[in-house]
Amino acid sequence: MDRGAVPAASGTAIMRRRILGSRGGNSALLFGGLALAALATAALVGLWYTPYAPDAFAVHLRLAAPSLAHPFGTDEFGRDVLSRVLAGAHLSLAIGFGAMLVSLALGVPLGLLAAFDRGWVSAAIMRGADLMISLPPILLGLLILAVTPPNLGKTILAVGLVYVPILVRLSRAVALGLLEEDFVQAARARGEGAVSILAREILPNAWPPIIVECGLRVTFAILLGASLSFLGLGPQPPSSEWGLMIAESREFLAQAPWMGLAPGLCLCALLVAVNVAGEGLRARLDPSHA
């Protein structure tokens, strides 16, 4: 173990104590996290078990109102709405968190590179980020999904790309600050290469603000993903993605409002949980906002 890693490790340890340690209660993080864990568990269960098959037609039960047998009612084909909501739960989570991973995987390396290189590479990356930020957020998604047939992967990619420039700017700003620190200067003096410094000195210390930003962005990523699939630009029928279910319920709103209300309320619950957990994470990691 070299000397340069010591401050980095202690910095990580401080962050770990802040997240896991008992330094003051954080009810937002606790309740948001618990609600999110409950919804994620439901989504996992829904992958393998639902009360009825989510795509089983039952013509005699078309548009049946909520009852004990069908707590959320049935849709226009007699499919059980509860089963469909459960089976589709993982899709909203996948879009939100998948998109965040896409923006992390693209945005953070580009941002770090832009901080480290002061020449044309940095200029190209930052001008590219400026350009992407000057597009309306939904436009890029529409453009990508309009030209090729939409599916889950493309929706994740389209939503993820929207937040890449934000993460590029953020991780560049954080890294620029860290580059002035003594332990980075020490690593430079030892003659370590750019990749080594970025990966072993900068990244372990740069992640708290990046994680906070991601936590707050997941809400918007889920929203944007649901909007796109509401417009028919996400997973295709017979998938039961919640945005898609809400779109399909529109024709039957007057007779069977539960068809739209059930996935809609679940989506709201998910968004509130993610939002509260994200705010709690910020309060925990970023004391200036507490």
């Binding site: 597009l135 436009l139 309009a146 509401f230």
Partner: protein, 317 residues
């Protein structure tokens, strides 16, 4: 100030040009041939070849791009394939109707959001502040298409107060016109109102803690004057940035809300173009939308500069 304006205007032109290249590139490079899109997948090769010839798809890409851009500069935005009409008038008509929708919503969001935010900041901890904080949390997290569905169920299906969907031109009478606008405008405003008021509250609280506000109070200035002469103008700076960001969200909201309410604006036209793979119409509509967004950002930057002497002078220096 004038060099600053000139530099930002140049920036807008560059952004629109770069976006036009991006839109053109995505539409033409991604798989999915325009001719096949029009004729369907069972088209004979001869029919595809003829159509490609007619649309100029065999020319080099740079020539196609140049033709498209030059047409735009002459006010010709291309031809809608599905409707077989010039895209320009279609887009401009739809844009006018969207502008009414988005403009009304934006006025409500800006004025209401600032008023609510200032109120919450000056009544920190009161019941009204707590209720608003809770409401903001919920309102930000509810997708606008779900608000739209709730509004249709309650106000159109159950109460029969307002029409569920559609549009009536002003020629049909003022009441019909307004009644078709009420629900879309409210749905479009509600989430952004929560967003703006919450961030205005935060900005206002920050300013109220500053030393110049303490100083103003210490020298016996009336609270009203402290608030509106010293605190509010400074709290407006971050709010303007937020309003510019929200304008982008508003554009996304317009696309969704127009689809739900079957409102014939630019957003619905874009979704129509996507559903029918009308690529020339899509390209033109998107470029118009990006231009408007770039101009809105320009307006926000200029407003920021006008309120903030630091930017004005640094830019002039």
């Amino acid at each position: 100030m004038s060099t600053y304006v000139a530099r930002r205007l140049l920036g807008v032109v560059l952004v629109v040009l770069a976006t036009s290249v991006l839109i053109f590139a995505i539409v033409h490079i991604l798989p999915g041939n325009v001719a096949y899109a029009i004729l369907g997948e069972y088209a004979t090769p001869a029919a595809v070849a003829t159509l490609q010839q007619r649309l100029g798809l065999n020319d080099p890409l740079w020539l196609q791009y140049w033709r498209w851009l030059a047409g735009f500069l002459h006010g010709q935005m291309g031809q809608s394939l599905v409707m077989d009409r010039p895209a320009g008038p279609l887009i401009l008509d739809a844009l006018g109707r969207s502008a009414i929708l988005a403009g009304s919503a934006f006025v409500i969001v800006a004025s209401g959001g600032i008023a609510l935010g200032v109120h919450a900041a000056t009544h920190q901890g009161h019941v009204s502040d707590r209720v608003m904080t809770l409401a903001q949390f919920v309102f930000i997290a509810v997708p606008d298409f779900f608000w739209a569905i709730l509004a249709v169920v309650v106000f159109a299906s159950w109460l029969h107060w307002l029409p569920a969907t559609g549009y009536a031109p002003p020629a049909d009478g003022l009441l019909a016109w307004v009644s078709h606008l009420v629900l879309p405008v409210i749905v479009l405003s509600i989430g952004l109102l929560a967003h703006v008021s919450r961030l205005t509250r935060a900005a206002m609280l920050e300013v109220l803690r500053s030393r110049y506000v303490l100083m103003a109070r210490a020298k016996g200035m009336s609270e009203r004057r402290v608030l509106w002469r010293h605190a509010a103008p400074n709290a407006m700076l971050p709010t303007i940035t937020i309003l510019a960001i929200d304008f982008g969200l508003l554009i996304g909201g317009v696309v969704v809300v127009e689809t739900v309410f079957a409102y014939p604006g630019l957003g619905r036209l874009l979704v129509f173009a996507i559903e029918h793979r009308d690529l020339p119409l899509l390209q033109a509509g998107m470029l118009v939308l990006t231009t408007i967004y770039a101009l809105a950002n320009l307006a926000a930057d200029l407003g920021y500069a006008a309120l903030n002497p630091r930017i004005r002078y640094r830019a002039a220096a």
